[in-house]
Symmetry: C2
Subunit: 119 residues, 2 copies
């Protein structure tokens, strides 16, 4: 199956905005890894741990906006904005790799305090 | 030694613009890896191979501009513009990891035909 990283990233951002933590986790491979933020010292391994990570914002109003994206092979690098609870806007750069089934195999989110705006 | 990825990325972009291929390669660790573009099917391994990669543009007028950067730990993700020979502007997203000596341990450049503008 041909993988379209650009479409998969958009689906991911739409699901982060409108889905539950389990909906987002379902986009990941069973053995996927997630590091957010990079350098934070914690890597979440496996879909169950990843669902736990997204549960931090379950029930919080979230919107997302893709700002720019680059793709190569089964990978994507993209800059996007995420607004959390109408109170905080963060602009991370994320790297995602996809497996041949179009599932997210790994995600790394690069951002820090300088990339957060209080609204 | 504490590593400052933001300063190291700026030094890299300055050296790409004003230095030789060997100057750029000297910023990389002896056993570094370089993939540019990601998905292109070729990974350059080691400083010698990396110098060969940058020799493609030796003698060509190059300018670079950092557009935005995110850092985490010893890693950086950044969007920048590179103008080659006054004829072509490319806007890649790159990921760099640094070792504890501040050398580039790995570089991956995400871009494709859509990210190239003929000037």
């Amino acid at each position: 199956m041909a993988v379209d990283p650009k479409a998969l990233v958009q689906r991911y951002l739409d699901t982060v905005a409108s889905g539950t933590a389990d909906d987002v986790a379902a986009l990941y491979a069973e053995d996927a890894t997630l590091e957010d933020p990079v350098g934070g010292g914690e890597v979440h391994i496996g879909r169950h741990a990843i669902a736990g990570f997204y549960k931090n914002t379950d029930g919080v109003e979230i919107s997302t906006e893709l700002l720019t994206i680059r793709v190569g092979g089964n990978e994507a690098a993209f800059l996007f904005a995420i607004t959390v609870g109408g109170a905080m806007r963060i602009e991370p750069i994320e790297i995602m790799t996809f497996n041949h089934d179009g599932q997210i195999a790994s995600m790394k989110a690069y951002w820090g305090p300088d990339d957060v705006t209080q609204l």
